[in-house]
Symmetry: C3
Subunit: 348 residues, 3 copies
């Protein structure tokens, strides 16, 4: 795995401009604070330029306008993106298909692609279609009639219920459940009768889902996670939710039934949304916030219930001073009483 690359080779990958020696040999990428000589680092925020001046790294990836005297630089538009690419240059592992373990169980009528890695204790039901280059880690369970696209990675103990459709280049981490029944009951005289959950789940291409998430199937239609969306751990996606393209759903978020998220929506950690809402394109829901009504596109909301982020911040700052206000109101009252006594007396 020990690769060595020239600054020139790295600059080509990240489409950057070299300031310094293109033939410099680079052994890897390291964080700017702890980088050693021979390594490249990156500075994504020009505010931390002082770190770049004292780093021992032999080269630094910086943004276009950044100058650092006496250092080898690669200037790029987005240093953090370049960091992602350089990590891959040095560390992306070649994929070696392991084939299908004798300890896996595959149902009837399945179409299996090439270059698979199907580990021991994997269960695949009947009539499934598994694309090329798919990796199924130990104990993955896939129900009848599922479709999984090319180069998708499903880690250990993921449970995929019947008729789920997973795209290509999807990554699903351990313990996540795709297609469990939505939470639907008709209550009659205090008893809860199950509404059969007949729909399914669609996960589009290039989605990544963290560990121990729950994504329920639709009641009659589908629950959809659209292309490019990234979901963190322990997230709840209820039945018939639609998550738009390229959205970010951070850990422990819960989205209730039939709520629809637009494109590029962000739900920060531990946030939540009630059911049947529309969250507009580009909206940001702050960490721990709870959304109980529609959110317009590009809005940034916070609080419980969530309101405009600036509005919430102002209210929240005031909140901690509430006891002072109580005291002030008390004092004002006294002063008014005093005034009233005097004025009345005079008036009388």
């Amino acid at each position: 795995m020990a690769r060595e690359l020239t600054l020139q080779e790295i600059a080509e990958r990240v489409k950057g401009e070299i300031i310094g020696d293109p033939s410099l040999i680079i052994k890897g990428i390291q964080p700017i604070e702890t980088a050693e000589s021979g390594y490249i680092s990156f500075l994504s925020n020009p505010r931390y330029k002082s770190k770049a001046i004292i780093t021992r790294a032999s080269a630094i990836i910086v943004s276009k306008e950044t100058e650092i005297e006496g250092k080898n630089l690669i200037r790029v538009e987005n240093p953090y993106l370049a960091f992602a690419f350089v990590l891959e240059l040095f560390h992306a592992e070649d994929y070696t298909p392991l084939g299908i373990s004798e300890w896996a169980q595959i149902g009837k009528g399945c179409k299996l692609g090439e270059k698979l890695s199907v580990h021991p204790f994997v269960f695949i039901g009947n009539d499934c279609s598994i694309g090329n280059g798919v990796q199924l880690f130990p104990g993955v369970s896939i129900g009848d009639g599922c479709v999984i696209g090319d180069d998708t990675i499903v880690y250990a103990h993921v449970s995929i219920y019947k008729r789920s459709r997973i795209g290509s280049r999807v990554i699903i981490h351990s313990g996540t459940v795709i297609g469990s029944d939505g939470y639907g009951f008709a209550t009659d005289k205090g008893k809860h009768h199950k509404i059969l959950q007949l729909g399914s789940v669609v996960i589009e291409d290039d989605v990544e889902i963290g560990s121990n998430c729950s994504i329920d199937r639709g009641t009659m239609g589908v629950t959809i996670i659209r292309r490019g969306t990234k979901i963190d751990n322990l997230v709840q996606i209820a039945h018939n939710v639609v998550v738009g393209e390229d959205s970010l759903i951070v850990a422990q978020v819960g989205i209730s039934g039939s709520t629809e998220l637009g494109k590029n929506v962000t739900f920060a950690g531990q946030a939540g949304a009630a059911g049947h809402l529309k969250i507009g394109d580009g909206a940001i829901i702050a960490a721990r916030s709870a959304v109980f009504e529609d959110v317009p596109p590009k809005a940034f909301v916070a609080g419980y219930p969530a309101v405009d982020n600036m509005k919430w911040k102002r209210a929240q700052i005031t909140f901690n001073r509430l006891p002072e206000f109580r005291e002030e109101i008390k004092q004002l009252k006294k002063r008014i009483e005093e005034l009233e006594k005097i004025v009345k007396k005079e008036g009388g």
Copy 2:
């Protein structure tokens, strides 16, 4: 699976009154907005009657008082319940037992019922009792001395620790853990010594538990989920909790140790309760609320910490206007000072 039924047959199942043609052939049930001709739909909320007027559905299940000109109707007391029944009429799958996979492992001294479906990679410990018609999906793990009642369905990768007792017609979704150790430690000079968790878990009949839930065993006694309760995904039930009959526990709720819920209690999404509390029959805990003291029967509480819902709502509305109040108090202060100057001068 393609069934066809007459309006008469459907009306009989839902104990409804037909307004229209009893011999009408119905091919299935669809949502009112997207229903096609030949299908039946339902209108649970008379407010949306306009949808029922323009739907292409050939028949509609409505509540007793509802009239819709020129449509075939079935009038029932609870249209949503009727919807649940009609879904079953059309879609309930006949259960075909698969028997016991050769790739399952079953311990010594187990009593196994008839008509089982035990999938590959299921593990059953010693001295377990498994009822008739039980379905154990791939990778289910059941510890020693467990009891599982008739017709219970346990989905993939559910872990059931030793000595758990699960009733009949229970449904447990993937990734859920029943009977893990409660969180109990005796702290001495900063070190935490484990309290052995010697109790167990009882799940009564007709309970449904979503995916990736954690239900801990009692420390000495039992943790109980009573008959008919429905639990959503990613829910935490701590040691020695009692959840009363026919309760609803929505996704990502957490109930702390030894708290007891009465019958028909509702915890909405992401709510929580501290330990050693009593939550009365029929109480409702609003979404995202945190309960830190006992809740009387039929109370509806909200907030952090939770108080009467109307009280919380009024305070919450005011909360967002806090910066205005601050400004108003400031202005009042000025005006009082002004008054004081004048009055003092006059008085002087």
Copy 3:
């Protein structure tokens, strides 16, 4: 399992002083309210002394200063700790190694200790080191290059990703995931590019982790759970987090990336912390609180965002009286207007 011990034997184990008959035969330990004759119980809080007076228990473990007339007592410094020890005296099961199941799959180049219990459907990758006395329950999955210390217990369906290092006497409950990828993406023009997660996870000795937790691997360095820390269920630990020694992380807590907890930190249930924070030694974060800035050692914080607990409590109490304040401000305004009218008239 039915053991009988003398009061003398119990007192020796808990280093206590006997008040009463050392030769008294004790059959077990039971809660003070429900204890039967022949059993010992404990009183951890002297406030509940009345329970100790009427209990049917034959002996009671009490704190040093406690006197209860006519009862056999064992006096100790920490009765709750003594309770933990006495539970073990009566109930600790002797460990009988089951060996390695023929239904387990073990990779190449592994070093396996003695006295193992490797259940069916366990998967161990290549080049792992498994210590003595390790118990791996059904369906545990361990990636390549992992190390597991002596006497560690890993329950069913735990997923341990490659290169994780788990200490000795660690307990990990079912469904927990160790070493899944951290949530790291470089966003460029609305698309999210994965940052390879190349680091790993270290779990030190004597840690206990509940069920369905997610502990992500570091991006480049490590995520560390230090010695003696106890984690409850459904907890999220993000990449590069450090949890200090002997900390308590209660159910459904989420700690964001690169946040560092000192020693003996407590996060109560459903609390959360933003990323890149320092939480000082001995700090306590109240249930459901959300920390958005550094917390000094020994601080006790609460709220959203979290502030000093007493400050939050005072503000919170006032919060519920906000509508009253609104009314009071209104009234004060009227009275000021009245005064202004009078004073102006007089002044004019």
